[in-house]
C-alpha cells in the first residue's frame, strides 16, 4: 500500500469549515433605508418627553413626515394641506409621526415645548411629534429636506419615500394643481392596493443636521 495522502489532506480539512467565516463577517456599514426593505426602527422623544418607538405601531401603516416650522415649504403645506392629510390618516387608522431633525445649533431649532406649541397653533393632528436633534433617525432614512415623506406599511416595510406632491414650489396655490402623492398612497393602502408611486422627488429646505452648520 502506498503512502496515503490523508496526512496533508487531513491537515487542510480543518480549514475548510473555517473558510466560510470570511464571508460571514456581518457588514457593519449601515445603509440608508430603501423602499422594499424593512424600515429601520427608532426610539425618539415626543414634545412632552415621552419615548415613542416606530415598532410601537406595528400592525398599522405609519407616515413619517420630516418637518421644520422655519422652512417656507413646510409653511406652504401647513396652510391647511398637511393638517387635512393628518386627519385623513387618522380616519384610516394610519399613524402619523412628525419628526424634526434640526440640530440644536441651528437658528431654526425649536425646543420641544415650542415645537409642540407651534403644532397646536397650526391645529396639526399627528399621532406624535418627535425630536431627532442628533439627526440619527433622519440619517437612517436619508431624509434630506423638509418636508420629506415616508410611508411604512403595517408589516414594517418601507413602501414610499419622497415628496409630498409633484410641484416643487413654495406657492400655496400649486398644491391644488399638483399630484397629491401622500393622499393617493394612503387611499391605496386603505384599499389594499399596491402603491402606484413608490419613489418620488422630495423638495424643500435642507435639513439642518448636526455638524452641517457652515
Amino acid at each position: 500500500m502506498q503512502r496515503r495522502p490523508f496526512l496533508i489532506a487531513g491537515a487542510l480539512a480543518p480549514l475548510a469549515p473555517l473558510a466560510p467565516l470570511a464571508g460571514l463577517v456581518p457588514l457593519s456599514a449601515h445603509a440608508a433605508a430603501t423602499v422594499g426593505q424593512p424600515a429601520p426602527d427608532f426610539t425618539l422623544m415626543d414634545t412632552a418627553g415621552k419615548p415613542v418607538k416606530l415598532s410601537d405601531f406595528k400592525g398599522r401603516p405609519v407616515v413619517l413626515e420630516w418637518t421644520n416650522p422655519g422652512c417656507p415649504f413646510v409653511k406652504k403645506q401647513y396652510q391647511g394641506n398637511m393638517q387635512s392629510l393628518q386627519k385623513d390618516a387618522a380616519s384610516k387608522n394610519i399613524a402619523w409621526l412628525a419628526i424634526n431633525s434640526t440640530a440644536e445649533s441651528s437658528p431654526d431649532h425649536l425646543t420641544p415645548a415650542r415645537l409642540g406649541q407651534w403644532m397646536a397653533e397650526q391645529k396639526a393632528a399627528p399621532t406624535a411629534t418627535l425630536m431627532d436633534e442628533s439627526g440619527k433617525t433622519g440619517e437612517a432614512y436619508a431624509a434630506r429636506v423638509t418636508p420629506h415623506m415616508y410611508i411604512v406599511n403595517a408589516q414594517g416595510v418601507l413602501v414610499y419615500a419622497g415628496g409630498i406632491d409633484s410641484i416643487a414650489s413654495a406657492r400655496v396655490e400649486d398644491i391644488a394643481k399638483a399630484v397629491p402623492y401622500i393622499q393617493q398612497a394612503m387611499a391605496e393602502i386603505a384599499a389594499g392596493k399596491p402603491l402606484s408611486q413608490t419613489t418620488t422627488r422630495p423638495y424643500g429646505c435642507t435639513i439642518k443636521y448636526k455638524g452641517s452648520a457652515a
Binding site: 503512502r3 495522502p5 487531513g10 480543518p14 475548510a16 473558510a19 403595517a154 413602501v159 452648520a213
Partner: protein, 760 residues
C-alpha cells in the same frame, strides 16, 4: 399674494419719443413711490413665506425698486436686455435675469441638488416673439454636511435668447418677466418678482453687453459624447468621459448632472485621470426614482475661486450603458383584514411546530443522529475515504492494537470535528447569522477549495503522483511513524466533506438541536459523528475483519485506482454546485485551474531538468490562471429567476410575498426547500417531484408549486425554514390557509405526498 397686472400695451397711447421717455420716467417714479410707501408698512424683519404687498408685485420681503429691479436684503434681481442692433423682425436679442446675492446667500442651478429650487423664468412676450430656455452658466457646488446643492453666489446672469419672428409688428417689444427664485443661506426664502421692460425695435440697448459676454463665457462648452459613457452598478455610477478639453486635463473636477435625484450630490466620490480620459465613481441616490437612458451633465474645475458662476466647464449628453439596479420588489399588497387572518394563521403555525419538536424526545433525536451518521458513510463523498481507511488494515506490520488505536483516532477525529462544526454553527447563530446546517457549501470559495482537495486526492489514488516525491522525506516518515495522527486527520477530513449531505433522520435532529440548550445540541452532534465513525471503529476492533480481508497483492493497487473515480465523481458534483453559484464561467475557470494543477503535480514525479522546466512552466501557468480567471471562480452570479416567473414543470421561484399571494388566492402551496449542493434534494427533484401522475394530482387540487433555493444563503429562506423547525435542506412543506403547515419527510415518496394531498 396679489399681483399687479402689467400695464397692457394697448392702454398706453402711442406718443412721440420725447413724451414716451417722460412717460417712462413718470411711471418709474410712481412705481418707486408706491414701492417705498408699501415698504413703510413692512414689518421690521423680512418674514419668509411671502407677504401680501399692495403695489407692484414682489414677495418674500423683496421690494420693487424699478420695473426691472426687485431687491431684498438677500438678493437683487434685475432684468437686463442686450440688443445692440435693435430688435427688428428676424433678429435675436439677449435678455436675462441678473441676480446679485448678498454674501453667504445663493440661488440654484437647473438641478438644485439635494434641496432647493432652480430659478424659474416665465416670459410674457408679444405675439411673434419667443424665448429660449435659460442658457445656464456653469454652477458651483455648495456642500452642507452630508448634502450638497448646485447653484450660484455673488452675481450671476441667467440669459435667454429672444427670437423676433417675421410676423412681429410694432415698434417696441414689451418684455414681461415673472421670475421666482429660492435664495438660501442656511435658511431659505422663496422670492418672486415681476419685471417689465420696453425694448424699442429700432433703438439699441447695449448697456449690459459686458454682463452678457461674461455669461456667455461662463456657460459650459458643448462637447460631443464621443466614447464617453455612464454605467450604473449596484451602488454607484461609473463615469468615463473622453474628449475633455486640454485645459481640464489633470485637474480635479466637479460633476454636475442635469438630471436630479440620480446621484448623491453630497456623498464622497472618487475621480481619476487616465491620460486623456477622466473616470469617476459617484454613489447613486438610495431614493433614485429615474432610470434615464442618457444623462446630460456638466463637468468643470472644482473649487472655483471667487464668487458667481463656477469656472467654465463642459457639457455632454452621455448615454447610459447597462441597466440601472432594480429596486427591491415591494411586498404584495394585502388588505388589512386578510393580513390579520394570515398573521393569525402564522401564529397558529408557530404554536403547532413547537409541539412536534417537543414530541421528538431527546433520546429519539440521539437515535436519529446515530442512524443518520451511519448512512452518511454511504455518500459518495465519504465512501472512498472510508474504503481506503479500511483497506489500511491489510497493511502488514500493524498489529491488532495498532488497528484499534487507529480506529479510536479516526473516531476521535470525526467526533471532535462534528463538535467543532456544531459549536461554530451555534456560536454564529447566537451572533445573529442566518445559517443552517451545510452552511459551508453556500460559499463558492469553500466549494472550490473542496474541489481542488478532492482532485488532488483522486489524482493521488489514480497514481499520478505520490506524496513521497512531493514532501520532504522527514514529513513522509512522520506520516508513517504516526499512523494514529494520520487516522485522526482522516476523520477530520471525512467530516468536512460529509456535513453538507443531509441524510434522512438527520433533518429533524438538527432542527431540534439548534433550539436546545448548548450541551444537548452538542451531544447530538457528537452522536452524529459517532454514527459516522462507527463502521470504521467496528472494523478496527474486530480482528476477524482484518483476517477476512484478502492478502495484500496487486488487487490493492487496482482497488486504490478504482477509488479515484468516486472522488472524481464528487469533484463533478462540487463543480455543479459551483456552477449554480458562480455560473458556467466560474465552473469552467475552476476546471482549467484543476487541469493545470494536475499538470503541475505530474511534473513533480519527473526527475532532473525536465522536472525543473516543466514544473516551473506549469507553476507559472497556474499562478497566471489564478490571477486572471481565479476571481471568476468565487464571484457569485446573480441569476435568481424573478419571482412569479414559471419555470419548467410549473414550478415558481419562492418568495414570502408570492406564497402569501397564492395562499390568499385560496390555493394550497407546496414548497420545495432545496439547494444545489444537497444530493438528497436533487434525488427527490428528479424522482418523486418529477412524477407525472403526482404532478397531475397536485394540479387537480390547484396546488401552487414553489421552489425555495437555499444555494446562496437567502435569509428569507433561512427564516422560513426556522419557522418550520428546520435549519437544513431538503424540506418539503404543504401550506394551506387556515391550517398548520405539513412537513413531509426528507426522502420523499410519491405515496407520502399523495397521502398528504388527500385531505386538502
Amino acid at each position: 399674494m396679489p399681483d399687479l397686472r402689467p400695464i397692457p400695451t394697448s392702454a398706453v397711447p402711442a406718443a412721440p419719443a420725447g413724451w414716451r421717455r417722460a412717460m417712462h420716467a413718470l411711471l418709474a417714479m410712481a412705481a418707486l413711490a408706491a414701492g417705498l410707501a408699501a415698504a413703510q408698512g413692512l414689518p421690521p424683519a423680512p418674514a419668509p413665506g411671502g407677504l401680501s404687498l399692495p403695489g407692484l408685485a414682489a414677495a418674500g420681503g423683496s421690494r420693487v425698486v424699478s420695473p426691472t429691479v426687485v431687491e431684498s436684503p438677500q438678493a437683487r434681481a434685475e432684468l437686463l436686455v442686450h440688443a445692440p442692433s435693435g430688435a427688428r423682425p428676424g433678429a435675436r436679442v439677449q435678455a436675462g435675469l441678473q441676480i446679485s446675492h448678498a454674501p453667504e446667500w445663493h440661488t440654484y442651478w437647473k438641478n438644485a441638488g439635494d434641496s432647493g429650487l432652480p430659478t424659474e423664468l416665465q416670459w410674457s412676450l408679444p405675439p411673434g416673439v419667443s424665448a429660449s430656455p435659460i442658457d445656464w452658466p456653469t454652477p458651483r457646488k455648495f456642500p452642507i454636511g452630508n448634502l450638497a446643492n448646485y447653484g450660484y453666489d455673488g452675481t450671476v446672469l441667467l440669459p435667454v435668447t429672444l427670437t423676433i419672428g417675421p410676423e412681429f409688428q410694432g415698434d417696441a417689444i414689451d418684455i414681461g418677466l415673472q421670475a421666482s427664485w429660492l435664495v438660501c443661506r442656511r435658511e431659505c426664502i422663496p422670492e418672486e418678482g415681476r419685471f417689465q421692460l420696453r425694448l424699442p425695435v429700432d433703438g439699441s440697448a447695449a448697456g449690459a453687453g459686458a454682463a452678457f459676454d461674461a455669461a456667455r463665457q461662463a456657460r459650459p462648452a458643448d462637447r460631443p459624447a464621443g466614447s464617453s459613457q455612464l454605467q450604473p452598478d449596484d451602488t454607484a455610477l461609473k463615469v468615463v468621459l473622453d474628449g475633455l478639453p486640454p485645459s481640464l486635463r489633470g485637474q480635479r473636477l466637479e460633476f454636475f448632472p442635469e438630471t436630479p435625484g440620480v446621484i448623491e450630490p453630497g456623498a464622497a466620490w472618487t475621480q481619476a485621470w487616465d491620460g486623456e480620459r477622466w473616470t469617476a465613481s459617484i454613489p447613486l441616490s438610495p431614493h433614485r426614482s429615474d432610470s434615464p437612458a442618457e444623462m446630460a451633465l456638466v463637468v468643470a474645475q472644482a473649487d472655483a475661486p471667487g464668487k458667481g458662476p463656477g469656472l467654465p466647464g463642459v457639457r455632454m449628453e452621455v448615454p447610459v450603458q447597462g441597466s440601472w439596479p432594480a429596486p427591491a420588489p415591494l411586498p404584495a399588497a394585502v388588505s388589512p383584514a386578510l393580513q390579520a387572518a394570515l398573521d393569525a394563521n402564522a401564529a397558529r403555525a408557530a404554536a403547532a411546530t413547537a409541539s412536534p419538536a417537543s414530541n421528538l424526545t431527546f433520546g429519539a433525536a440521539l437515535l436519529g443522529a446515530l442512524i443518520g451518521g451511519l448512512i452518511l458513510n454511504l455518500m459518495p463523498c465519504v465512501f472512498p475515504v472510508l474504503a481506503i481507511k479500511v483497506m489500511g488494515f491489510t497493511r502488514p506490520g500493524t498489529g491488532a492494537s495498532g488497528h484499534r488505536a487507529q480506529g479510536l483516532a479516526y473516531t476521535a477525529g470525526v467526533v471532535l470535528s462534528f463538535l467543532a462544526l456544531g459549536a461554530l454553527l451555534l456560536t454564529l447563530r447566537a451572533a445573529g447569522e442566518q445559517l443552517g446546517w451545510g452552511f459551508q457549501l453556500q460559499s463558492p470559495a469553500v466549494v472550490a477549495s473542496l474541489a481542488v482537495l478532492f482532485t488532488l486526492i483522486g489524482l493521488n489514488l489514480a497514481g499520478l503522483f505520490e506524496f513521497g516525491s512531493v514532501l520532504p522525506s522527514s514529513v513522509a516518515s512522520l506520516q508513517a511513524r504516526h499512523p494514529t495522527g494520520d487516522a485522526f486527520l482522516t476523520g477530520v477530513l471525512a467530516t468536512a466533506v460529509a456535513s453538507p449531505c443531509t441524510a434522512p433522520f438527520m433533518g429533524a435532529s438538527l432542527g431540534l438541536a439548534i433550539a436546545l440548550p448548548a450541551w444537548q445540541a452538542l451531544t447530538i452532534f457528537a452522536v452524529l459523528g459517532l454514527g459516522m465513525a462507527l463502521p470504521y471503529l467496528a472494523a478496527s476492533w474486530a480482528p476477524a475483519l482484518a483476517r477476512a480481508l484478502p492478502r495484500p497483492g496487486p488487487w490493492m493497487e487496482r482497488f486504490r485506482q478504482f477509488m479515484a473515480f468516486p472522488m472524481f465523481a464528487t469533484v463533478v458534483w462540487l463543480l455543479w454546485v459551483l456552477g449554480q453559484q458562480t455560473g458556467i464561467d466560474g465552473a469552467a475557470a475552476l476546471l482549467m485551474l484543476l487541469v493545470v494543477l494536475a499538470l503541475l503535480v505530474w511534473t513533480l514525479k519527473l526527475q532532473g531538468r525536465s522536472r525543473l522546466v516543466l514544473g516551473g512552466l506549469s507553476l507559472a501557468g497556474l499562478l497566471w490562471l489564478g490571477v486572471s480567471v481565479g476571481p471568476g471562480v468565487v464571484r457569485p452570479v446573480d441569476d435568481a429567476p424573478a419571482a412569479g416567473v414559471a419555470q419548467a414543470g410549473g414550478w415558481e421561484a419562492w418568495t414570502p410575498e408570492l406564497q402569501a399571494q397564492r395562499l390568499a388566492e385560496g390555493r394550497p402551496v407546496f414548497v420545495d426547500f432545496t439547494a444545489a449542493w444537497c444530493v438528497t434534494c436533487q434525488f427527490n427533484k428528479r424522482t418523486t417531484l418529477a412524477d407525472a401522475s403526482l404532478l397531475a394530482d397536485m394540479a387537480g387540487k390547484n396546488m401552487a408549486l414553489m421552489r425555495a433555493d437555499w444555494t446562496r444563503r437567502d435569509p428569507a429562506v433561512t427564516q422560513a425554514l426556522a419557522g418550520l423547525g428546520r435549519n437544513g435542506v431538503p424540506v418539503y412543506a404543504i401550506y394551506k390557509n387556515g391550517q398548520a403547515p405539513v412537513v413531509l419527510s426528507e426522502v420523499l415518496s410519491v405515496e407520502e405526498v399523495r397521502a398528504a394531498l388527500a385531505p386538502l
